[in-house]
């Protein structure tokens, strides 16, 4: 009865129920038991279904999930085993969707992790979870206990703390941490799918991606594609923010940014939107309002879904100030390993600080763009690439403000308004 209920509607799929974690009984009552993939053909069939569903990863890079499972399954077969790393580090300060999902539907995420382990042939699951996420963690720990008492035959699920650092959730950093070292990225190759946890082929998958996979395994790819658009099927979790509001929402792909922001308490149209988080892109409202959240349209607009953050900048705030604070934060959050990233981001942050809060010099914007071009692609991980992309879009979107700052000095909004983009304290260690 309940399966039919879910199958019949498009939304919500993940964010069902709002008061506290769903129990195992409710979860199984709603969806039925997880497919066991008893014979080899079953797991390849599931991987084909995932490929056909068009599900893409929700941790930032948007890589096709089925393709990754197939790659790891082949590697694990050759290596005689594999590991699943369920990534709930959620290092992005503006994002809350992963912790919300874990807190509400821990069993759906665990289902996805167990299913992926069965599909790729992994004998261990590591759930890598942000250290500060108390609610999510309690929900997951309780859910694991419930599954043990129910004597579900599943691979062992181990929880490892992700330190509170921006890059700790990068896949090679996560593997490094779980292998007993600092949560800092390593030089790839070998990538985790080749040699990851304990040297075994490792499937690194964001927890939202896993939750979608757990539904597709039961309801099929046609059901998945009933929501969203032809090229961006399904629904996605977003963290929608404005000055003093944060909401996690599930929307169908193809929903416009204007629709996503409708219903925020601040009714007035924002001046600009940051799409995709701190590695994302600033877009002026006139370009963002009718832009569908959909992979192709976002790419054409110079943006991306990233980790699903949509941050609305109210009219009485300064976009340059927001960009400068974010860049300073990202510069302080490098792993301190690669020269171009460490020096480049700090140098850029200094100039950007002057642009936002002082009086920009004539060539400051040009210098920032030149450095952005130099720094991108030259770190062990894509941290610098993400950071400079955000800066370039900030300079483009707030070009008028930049000119005004150059002429009159920092605007009153830059000096007055509290930050919209959250900047955490930076005291965390690397383990």
């Amino acid at each position: 009865m309940v399966i039919a209920d879910i199958a019949a509607r498009t939304l919500p799929r993940l964010l069902i129920g709002t008061d506290g974690p769903e129990s195992l009984a409710d979860h199984v009552g709603r969806l039925g038991a997880l497919p066991e993939l008893r014979v080899d053909a079953d797991r390849w069939q599931l991987i084909s279904t995932l490929e056909a569903s068009g599900l893409r990863g929700r941790g930032g890079a948007g890589f096709p999930v089925g393709t990754k499972w197939r790659t790891v399954a082949v590697q694990a077969q050759a290596a005689g085993g594999g590991v699943v790393l369920a990534n709930a580090a959620e290092g992005e300060p503006a994002s809350a969707k992963d912790r919300t999902l874990l807190a509400l539907r821990p069993h759906l995420v665990l289902d996805g992790a167990v299913l992926s382990a069965r599909a790729v042939g992994a004998s261990e699951i590591v759930l890598y979870i942000g250290r500060e996420m108390t609610r999510a963690r309690h929900a997951i720990e309780a859910a694991i206990r419930e599954r043990r008492s129910a004597r579900l035959k599943e691979p062992r699920i181990r929880i490892v703390d992700a330190p509170d650092r921006y890059v700790a959730g990068e896949e090679s950093a996560a593997v490094h941490r779980i292998n007993g070292s600092d949560a800092k990225p390593t030089v790839v190759p070998p990538r985790p799918f080749q040699r990851g946890i304990h040297g075994a082929p490792t499937l690194v998958q964001n927890v939202e991606s896993l939750a979608h996979a757990a539904l597709i395994a039961r309801l099929g790819e046609t059901w998945f594609r009933a929501a969203g658009t032809a090229t961006s099927p399904g629904t996605c979790l977003l963290t929608v923010r404005s000055a003093d509001e944060v909401r996690v929402r599930e929307v169908e792909f193809g929903t416009t940014i204007g629709q996503v922001l409708a219903g925020l308490e601040r009714a007035e149209a924002p001046q600009a939107v940051l799409v995709g988080g701190y590695f994302g892109a600033w877009l002026p409202w006139r370009r963002a309002a009718d832009l569908p959240l959909e992979y192709d349209a976002l790419r054409a607009a110079g943006a991306g879904l990233g980790c699903g953050v949509v941050l609305a900048l109210p009219r009485d705030c300064c976009g340059l100030a927001e960009g400068a604070r974010i860049l300073r934060y990202l510069a302080d959050e490098t792993a301190g390993q690669c020269g171009p990233c460490v020096h480049g981001l700090h140098a850029m942050a200094d100039v950007m600080w002057r642009v936002a809060f002082g009086r920009p010099k004539g060539n400051d914007a040009g210098q920032l763009r030149r450095w952005a071009g130099q720094v991108a692609g030259r770190g062990a991980c894509r941290h610098p690439d993400g950071a400079v992309g955000m800066v370039k879009s900030c300079l483009d979107t707030f070009a008028d403000e930049l000119e005004a700052h150059a002429r009159h000095g920092a605007c009153p909004a830059a000096l007055r308004a509290a930050a919209v983009a959250p900047i955490p304290d930076q005291e965390g260690g690397w383990r």
């Binding site: 030089v187 020096h343 480049g344």
Partner: protein
């Protein structure tokens, strides 16, 4: 034979010797770290590339040669 030169950014410490030995393909950025021009290295330049690799005190350069 295809040859591509890469740098391990974690090992690299801006010694700058590579840019002296292989100026045809390596420039230094504003902080002294090498920017390697993308693409295959032609036969004529392969010796310079090998020398840069050999002389890097950090062993941070990698020449991937595939035949």
């Amino acid at each position: 034979m295809k040859a591509v030169l890469r740098v391990n950014p974690i090992k690299c410490a801006a010694e700058g010797i590579c840019a002296e030995l292989f100026p045809e393909r390596i420039q230094l950025d504003d902080w002294g770290y090498p920017i390697i021009e993308q693409g295959e290295i032609p036969e004529a330049l392969i010796e310079h590339a090998r020398q840069a690799v050999a002389e890097c005190p950090r062993l941070a350069l990698i020449l991937q040669e595939q035949s």
